[in-house]
């Protein structure tokens, strides 16, 4: 059965790095992986493509119209055969990027691109409109993973996304659930404990804490995922462990978002102790 997961979290928190390394690790397990970058910045799959910014679905729509797009125009083979797609979007400040995501999904459906063992949706930081909630809707990702550090604003963004998951899961045909929280460390004190406690408080669990490591930056400067750049590193081991946990995960929750005061109190507790 095909597994569809989506990674959400605050902008710049490391969703694309995490997604790409999960996809790379899963492909090393012999699985057929499709990673879809759902962000106009279009850099989700770059490390899987050896630094190449692939043409986006929206680039193709802009240049030739959506009816003459073929599968090979928008799906590109990256590390380990991971099939890479970038939704793309309008130039900053114009048009409607959310509608671009919806159009991308319709085009990928029509082209029959949405298949494989695992589809990884790497989604823009904030669920600013219905378009960016598209991966959570019926027929797409059932498992949502929140990527967060221990910084308050990152936890705040994750908490906000919980509101979207709760709302969509409450619909009659809503299938999306929270698969868990991925801690992406920023070298803060007691960060792993804080993220773990946050996950418990929203009715979920932290599936993996990814510590900060210089190998991540070195890999990116070499235009590779950590899995490809330094497969023997402990960081690569962490990503492989995370990928395996996601594949084994059967716990799917409807989260209970925290009130702002409760979230602040939680963060404050860990700062002062």
């Amino acid at each position: 059965m095909m597994k569809q997961i989506a990674l959400y979290g605050k902008g710049g928190i490391g969703k694309s790095t995490t997604s790409a390394n999960i996809s790379a690790a899963l492909s090393d397990m012999g699985l057929d992986i499709l990673q879809i970058g759902c962000d106009p910045k279009r850099d989700s799959t770059r490390m899987l493509m050896q630094g190449r910014l692939i043409p986006t679905v929206m680039d193709q729509v802009r240049e030739r119209g959506d009816r003459s797009i073929a599968l090979e125009d928008v799906v590109f083979s990256g590390y380990g055969g991971v099939r890479c797609v970038e939704a793309g979007g309008p130039e900053p400040g114009v048009g409607c990027a959310g509608r671009g995501i919806i159009a991308t999904f319709q085009i990928l459906e029509r082209l029959g691109a949405l298949h494989g063992d695992v589809i990884v949706y790497d989604v823009l930081g904030d669920v600013v409109c219905g378009g960016f909630a598209m991966p959570m809707r019926e027929g797409y990702a059932q498992e949502i993973y929140l990527v967060t550090s221990g910084e308050l604003m990152s936890l705040y963004a994750a908490n906000n996304i919980c509101k979207a998951i709760k709302r969509l899961s409450g619909r009659s045909r809503g299938i999306c659930r929270l698969g868990g929280v991925i801690g992406n460390g920023k070298n803060l004190d007691s960060e792993e404990e804080l993220i773990s406690r946050f996950a418990e408080r929203i009715g979920s669990t932290m599936v993996q804490f990814v510590p900060r490591s210089p190998v991540v930056q070195r890999a990116e400067l070499n235009k590779k995922t950590v899995i490809e750049f330094d497969p023997g590193s402990s960081q690569a081991g962490v990503y492989r462990h995370l990928a395996a946990k996601i594949m084994e995960n059967t716990r799917l929750d409807i989260p209970e978002p925290l009130e702002m005061e409760d979230l602040e109190a939680l963060a404050y507790e860990f700062i002062t102790n």
Partner: protein
Amino acid sequence: MAVTDGITIIHGPDGCAHHTTSLLHALQVDHDRLFSPIILSSSLTESEIIFGGEEALGKAIRSAVARKPGLICVLTSCVSAAIGDDVQSVCNSSHCPDIIVVPTGGFLGGGFSEGVEQALLALSVLGGSGSEPDGSVTLIGEKNLEYEVDAHYRELSRLLSLLGIHIRLRFIRNVSTAALSQLGSGSLNILRDHSLEEVGESFRRRFGTPYIPSFPVGFSGTLRFLEQVGEQLGIDSRQAVKTERENQEQLIGNFRDLRGANVSFYGLSSSALPLSEELIQRFDLRPGTAGFTCSIPDPLPVGTAGLSRMLHRWRRVCRA
């Protein structure tokens, strides 16, 4: 037709322009005319919604400019407003001097009346460059879609001529762009109805022009209208009122066959109640569920001539 040498661009999908065009076309056919105003569409599709519709608007403006209109009006739609197209900037950079944006994104609230108000206020920027107040009258906000719009205009012209006054500008019906500069040159504005009072207030503040808030309705309302116009313009209205009163009495005499009739009013709106009471009193009508069914049109009949047309319709029903 509002501005005779104008072109309207609806910045939205073709359906938005089609809806308006077909409505106007149907009305023109109903009025036995084959002339429709020029309405262009910026033809937004999903691609423009995603990538922005400003380029499509620029193209539509260039197409309109090529037709050499006196004025281009750009109306926004729900979708162009929702995606945040900077319509004003596109218009500013078009180097077309006579181009006006009317914000009409429906989801922003408001309905037909608010749209009319927005259009009148937007087009008023072309006013204020005419001569000093010259004793003439400006009609504000005639309803271009109204069946009897020109009959109302003729009645207003007749009534004002009793005071020796003429209508200089119809803001906005059957006028050229150049004529719009005369807004503010009249000595009195007469609003089509009370819904335009904010527009009347705005023009009073900007141009110093006083206003009467509605076209005249009813026998006594028409006489009072003459008195109000006289007061506003410093004209002795007694002779005009006397002449019109005699005209009304003659009209009532012409319809004496309706006197004492049993009537039932059909679909009477609250705004028509005072007029219905006046008609009951003037013709000694006996309202109830029995008798012939008569209706008071909405919009209400304007002036004595409007009442005359309505009474003719009543008589046909009464005799049927």
